[in-house]
């Protein structure tokens, strides 16, 4: 990736457009190696809830800190705006960052974001100085409201969290990209295979955040490498401006006329 194409978010720059979650890996070693080979520069982490007697959160945090990547805390598991706000405030203290991936879950079967709670929580957190990256559906109106509040990046889903289905509604994602050409749009959930990541990057999405597709793969490290390559391929393809599909055939080797479009 060229320096000119580095992703700029809230004043930070990223050479990689792949962001990775840190949950459900087979072991800390596999997590560490997966992040390293993917070349990802930001990982998302959730608060570990403890009730005393265990110190698992401490060792996990030590591992993440030693990776040398930017940490994006999230409010995973929050069901209300209030809960998400409180979690974000605690995360800011623990991780010493005002970045937050804001999740407010509204429905149990699909883990669909509660977009009303999301907008409410984003409003409070932005006023409190947070850099909010909201996990949202592909709804244009919600996107508009979140951008108006001051979100510099939005994180629409491709499909439900952990489903690995790929892009459920390509029309909606294309519409979102077209409506907000200058907003940073990061696909956040539903990606199951590197080909899905290529698809959204070719649409012009700025980055992809995923977890389960790597952590639950048969070989997470190799899958992390594959996703790193896929993100680069999709981004390059987008910048290269793919040809327009046609309904009918067109000879790729014309026998009459010029061999090149441009004379030399």
């Amino acid at each position: 990736m060229s320096d000119a194409d580095r992703l700029r978010l809230y004043g930070s720059e990223f050479g990689s457009r792949l962001f990775i979650g840190t949950a459900r890996y087979p072991s800390p070693v596999v997590l560490e190696e997966s992040i390293r080979v993917s070349k990802c520069e930001m990982v998302t982490v959730s608060l570990r809830r403890e009730a005393g007697g265990t110190r698992s959160g401490e060792s996990f945090w030590s591992l993440i800190r030693n990776l040398g990547v930017k940490v994006l805390p999230n409010t995973a598991g929050c069901r209300t705006a209030k809960e998400a706000i409180t979690t974000a405030q605690m995360a800011r203290e623990i991780f010493a960052t005002n970045w937050i991936k804001l999740e407010v879950i509204g429905e149990e079967d699909t883990l669909q974001p509660d977009v009303f709670g999301l907008v409410e929580a984003a409003r409070v957190l932005i006023k409190d100085g947070f850099y909010v990256l909201p996990y949202m559906t592909d709804d244009l109106v919600v996107a508009e409201k979140l951008l108006d509040l001051g979100c510099q990046a939005l994180m629409p889903w491709a499909a439900p969290i952990g489903s690995g289905r790929g892009v459920n509604n390509p029309f909606a994602l294309r519409a979102l990209r077209a409506h907000f050409p200058n907003a940073h749009l990061i696909i956040d959930a539903g990606i199951g295979a590197p080909s899905h990541a290529v698809e959204v990057m070719e649409m012009g999405y700025d980055a992809v955040l995923l977890n389960t597709a790597i952590s639950r793969a048969g070989d997470p490290v190799e899958m992390a490498r594959a996703f790193g390559l896929a993100i680069e391929a999709g981004r390059s393809a987008f910048l290269a401006k793919p040809m327009t599909p046609r309904d009918m055939a067109e000879p790729s080797t014309p026998i009459i006329g010029r061999p090149f479009d441009q004379l030399f």
Binding site: G57, T86, I94
Partner: protein, 46 residues
Amino acid sequence: MRILVNGLQRDVSAATLSGLLNELGYEDQKVGTAVNQESQTRRLGM
């Protein structure tokens, strides 16, 4: 005093949040705390 810590009942003697963290074994660990869904960490000076 009986309280709920992340959904688990705990019998504790501490009278302050700082004391509670010590009693639960987090005295040397960076933690975030909330009481009745209100973040408290800043008030502890952590």
